[in-house]
């Protein structure tokens, strides 16, 4: 029973805003769709902390996380008209952020082998990835995970998304999400018990 209770808690978290907030969020999304920056700002505020945390853990750097969130929000604002279903906003925003984080990571790894052509890009990458305050331990735990596993763990544990929701955000089948999550948790458990 405990099992179900926690699972339920995690699941509901993502939808905790209930009916009353749904309408407000829908309204804000539709306003944002007509290029209303104020409305988008208000929407963003609802998820800003979640987005920042997500980026921090995935990228392991506050500076990069800040850039990634800014990039993600700007990108989201431009393509918001392509968002069809208002309720999907949060998942959609995470999806964009996840893509941007992946971009950062892949560029970081590519940097080791290639000379960057883009001056702006160079600048971004030269910012030394600082370690996170007070969460060095967590950083270590996460370091044992692959990027996608890290994302799955954060979305599941912190944001309370279930596997099908995560599959939407990360574009992979729900079954894969479940197995990856299970594998990641197993590895983290080992790390925690060290």
């Amino acid at each position: 029973m405990q099992h179900f209770a926690l699972y339920f808690t995690l699941k509901v978290r993502g939808q905790e805003r209930g009916t009353a907030m749904d309408a407000k969020a829908n309204l804000l999304v539709r306003r944002a769709c007509s290029n209303d920056a104020e409305a988008f700002g208000e929407l963003y505020e609802r998820y800003s902390k979640d987005l920042y945390r997500f980026a921090c853990y995935v990228l392991g750097s506050q500076q990069l996380a800040q850039d990634a969130v800014q990039d993600a929000v700007c990108a989201a604002f431009i393509q918001i008209s392509s968002l069809r279903k208002e309720e999907a906003f949060k998942a959609w925003l995470f999806k964009i952020l996840s893509n941007i984080c992946n971009k950062y990571i892949s560029e970081k790894s590519r940097q080791r082998n290639t000379v960057p052509l883009d001056a702006e890009l160079e600048e971004t990458l030269e910012a030394p990835p600082s370690t996170l305050n007070a969460t060095f331990e967590m950083e270590e735990i996460f370091s044992c995970l692959a990027n996608d596993e890290r994302e799955i763990v954060i979305l599941s544990v912190l944001q309370g998304y279930n596997s099908s929701e995560i599959s939407t955000i990360l574009d992979c089948p729900a079954g894969t999400v479940r197995s990856k999550l299970s594998r990641a948790l197993k590895r983290m458990r080992a790390e925690l018990e060290k």
Partner: protein, 799 residues
């Protein structure tokens, strides 16, 4: 998830949440700085650059897909339909978990089914025949033309004037009225058939700058009811009624449009003819009432031949003239109401230019203007007797510049026990008129509106036909239950000209008016009266953001009804009345435990409460003594500084048989905050004594006869806790017996600096507030019609 995994997850979660406390969101990621960044990005040039970047981003995202793609059963990225599908799945439960009493329509069929059911039920209840002609065919713009008169904005002055604004419920949220003042010009709805723009300055040389006329046809009427002014935009609300008259006594329906010939109308109404012709062959129908059963067969009648149709239509055309004659009382007429919002560009006040017209089904309830956003509410009643056309009429439509579109099922919320009527809410943004207006509807209905900056509340009174059998010693008698009225509240989230249905709630009893509703600190408060006449009591309910009742005060003042309500912050004031006027002071600071803190019994009653300061409250209403009401208007000043002990510290009584619209319509109260000055239109009924000796018996009788009205605009101020009458303004050269005053009494007063303006159906007059002397008068063209009168919400058509 395995149990072990769950444990690990919760351990990680605790550690992760620790992060938030130690790593606050950097200021660069604050809402404000992000919004600022987005605003800069909105500049088209930058946007282009960003789009290029997005392309780059997409390719990277595509790379991500490749990583997962190999094992992806259905790839979702890029395809919005795929995303939609998955998200539907994701959110399916959320949508279903909405308030159980209300749900979003699944599809058009669901709505049609509801109406079919309602129609069948209605047919059973009523012996009225089923009407089944072509309906709502006419949907177009009415015939009116802006006409320029007089000088072109000759007297422009700087807009540093202090000027009168409409007295509204919520500060900063404008309500439409028959008159708006922008400091230089006065915009008025005059006698319903014209909108006039006057230049107010100089006060001794006011001018009619332009007029927009609203035309009247027999089959279609358009009456302006109120307006808004926002900068160089004029927003006029009008009610359009389209009539189709079908006569029982002839073989054909009378499409009573004098502007067109019967023949021309024929193709549009073949069904009418078929139905009526078939109907009349089945028996005599001398009156609409008796026609009930005879008409039933008409539904399945074959269409008439073309020749029949033409003949019938000709007959109809000939009958047109006498259609309003008593002998030719129309057997049945269908009337379709539309609430029309027309937006004019008035950058040239002398030549208003129509730039947008939004027509929504239903009669106008009200509207609100918040900055540049307008929200319009209408109530659309679906005629259940138009059985064969239910499909056409059971969806409310909104027409933008003549292009009509039904509101889609996804934008319709259905209440549990719907009446065949819709509440239609339309939002638009005056700054962006190219964007389509946003519309939502609630199948249920609505009557009063209360609006805050981000929420719109509409109320609907629901009558539960609640018959209960009761045993009276052997005989079972059916009596109706006491608590038969309840009020449903529909909440919409609003912003940016967009509307989203948010929630619904329900409380016992009926509300009085928009002042019965209020929102403060996230809680919604509503005052209602319940019970049958003579057995009433009142309640105040406090509802949370989900519109669930969390606190209440019930059975306030048994046997009395609510006459006025006003909520200000943590305090509520309720006036109930039976013979004397108790003013109740309510403490609402704890939403879960509201309580009555004090009450005051007084003769007469207040029907409108206006806060003057935090501790002073003005009441406008009816004079009275301990036995009930007596003649006269009573203005009370209440000291509410001690909630346990409210006091009437002063009163001002306008004697005689008189009435003020301000007692029942807050918009008629003029407020001049800088001078703490108030003004109300006062109508006094004038009686003349007469002596009649013409009786055949030779006796002489004397009496009083109604001789017209005396109309004034009375101002008073509040000084040192006293009501001080200042002046009573009266239009010059107006006799009480003048017919013009009959519907031309002063309806509004306003001001620019030290000049007071009064508006009646007959004249616009300016007065010096210093001396009271008349500075100028502009006569207003009298309307040609004599079959309507001027009411609170514009004219009423009397047929």
């Amino acid at each position: 998830m395995k149990k072990r995994d769950i444990e690990t997850a919760s351990r990680i979660k605790i550690k992760l949440e620790d992060f938030e406390a130690k790593n606050p969101l950097p200021s660069e990621l604050s809402k404000e700085s992000i919004t600022e960044k987005l605003k800069q990005q909105s500049v088209p040039v930058k946007k282009k650059a960003k789009i290029i970047e997005m392309k780059r981003l997409t390719s990277i995202a595509a790379a991500v897909i490749i990583i997962f793609g190999a094992v992806t059963a259905f790839s979702l990225f890029g395809g919005s339909s795929g995303l939609k599908l998955a998200i539907d799945n994701l959110n399916g439960k959320t949508a279903a978990a909405q308030n159980a009493d209300i749900s979003t329509a699944k599809n058009n069929k669901q709505i049609l089914d509801i109406f079919k059911k309602l129609s069948t039920a209605a047919a059973k209840q009523s012996n009225r025949y089923t009407f089944n002609s072509a309906l709502g065919a006419e949907k177009g713009t009415a015939d009116y033309t802006p006409t320029a008169q007089g000088d072109t904005a000759a007297n422009e002055t700087s807009n540093n004037n202090t000027y009168g604004e409409t007295n509204v419920q919520v500060k900063g949220i404008d309500e439409p009225d028959v008159m708006k003042n922008d400091g230089n010009y006065l915009y008025t709805v005059t006698n319903g058939n014209q909108v006039n723009i006057y230049s107010l300055l100089p006060a001794d040389n006011m001018k009619l700058v332009s007029t927009i006329k609203f035309a009247e046809h027999v089959s279609k009427s358009e009456y302006a009811n109120s307006l808004f002014v926002k900068g160089d935009l004029l927003v006029v609300f009008s009610d359009v009624n389209t009539y189709k008259v079908f006569k029982e006594t002839t073989t054909a329906p009378a499409e009573t449009n004098p502007d067109s010939t019967g023949t021309a109308e024929t193709p549009a109404v073949p069904d009418d003819t078929a139905t009526d012709a078939a109907g009349s062959t089945q028996g005599s129908q001398s009156s609409p009432g008796s026609a009930g059963s005879a008409r039933t067969g008409a539904d399945t009648a074959e269409p008439a031949t073309a020749a029949d149709t033409t003949d019938a239509a000709n007959t109809a055309a000939n009958d047109t003239k006498s259609v309003y004659g008593y002998n030719n009382y129309p057997g049945y007429y269908y009337s379709k109401s539309e609430s029309v919002c027309t937006i004019y560009d008035i950058s040239d006040r002398a030549a208003p230019k129509e730039i947008k017209k939004i027509s929504q089904d239903g009669s106008f309830i009200s509207a609100r203007l918040i900055n540049s956003e307008i929200y319009i509410l209408s109530s659309y009643y679906v005629d259940l007797y138009a059985k064969n056309y239910l499909e056409d009429i059971c969806f409310p439509a909104v027409a933008v510049d003549g292009k009509s579109q039904n509101i889609s099922a996804a934008d319709i919320s259905i209440t549990k026990n719907p009446d065949p009527s819709y509440l239609v809410v339309c939002g638009l943004n005056l700054d962006d008129l190219n964007t389509e207006p946003d519309t939502k509807a609630v199948l249920g209905g609505g009557s009063e509106a209360y609006c805050t900056a981000d929420s719109l509340f509409a109320s609907r009174t629901v009558y539960a036909y609640n018959e209960q059998p009761r045993d009276w010693g052997g005989d079972v008698t059916v009596v109706s239950s006491n608590d038969s009225y309840s009020t449903e509240i529909y909440q919409f989230a609003i912003g940016g000209g967009k509307v989203e249905f948010e929630n619904s709630g329900k409380v016992a009893g009926q509300i009085l008016n928009q002042f019965s509703m209020d929102q403060y600190n996230g809680y919604f408060r509503i005052a209602t009266t319940q019970g049958d006449w003579g057995n009433t009591s009142s309640n105040v309910f406090i509802l949370n953001d989900k519109l669930d009742v969390v606190g209440k005060i019930e059975k306030i003042a048994p046997k009395e009804q609510i006459f006025a309500v006003r909520f200000t912050g943590d305090t509520g004031y309720v006036v109930t009345y039976e013979q004397t006027d108790p003013l109740f002071v309510l403490d609402l600071s704890d939403p879960t435990a509201p309580k009555i803190t004090g009450q005051l019994k007084l003769p007469g009653f207040s029907s409108y409460l206006q806060p003057v300061t935090d501790t002073l409250l003005l009441g406008i209403g009816q004079n009275g003594d301990t036995d009930g009401t007596t003649q006269g208007i009573k203005i009370s000043l209440f000291d509410v500084s001690d909630p346990a002990n409210p006091k009437e510290i002063d009163k001002y009584i306008i004697k005689g048989d008189c009435y003020t619209e301000a007692a029942n319509n807050h918009k008629a109260l003029m407020t001049y905050p800088e001078k703490v000055l108030f003004g109300i239109p006062v109508v006094k009924y004038d009686y003349q004594t007469y002596t009649d000796s013409s009786s055949s018996s030779g006796s002489v009788s004397t009496g009083v006869a109604f001789d017209g009205i005396v109309s004034t605009f009375d101002t008073f101020t509040v000084q040192n806790s006293k009501i001080v009458p200042v002046r009573s303004y009266k239009e010059p050269d107006v006799k009480s017996s003048d017919a013009s005053t009959y519907y031309g009494g002063i309806s509004r007063g306003t001001y620019v600096n030290d000049t007071l303006y009064t508006l009646s159906g007959a004249a616009l007059t300016s007065f010096s507030m210093d001396t009271g002397s008349v500075l100028g008068t502009l006569k207003i063209d009298q309307p040609l019609y004599n079959y309507y009168f001027y009411g609170l919400r514009g004219p009423m058509v009397m047929y």
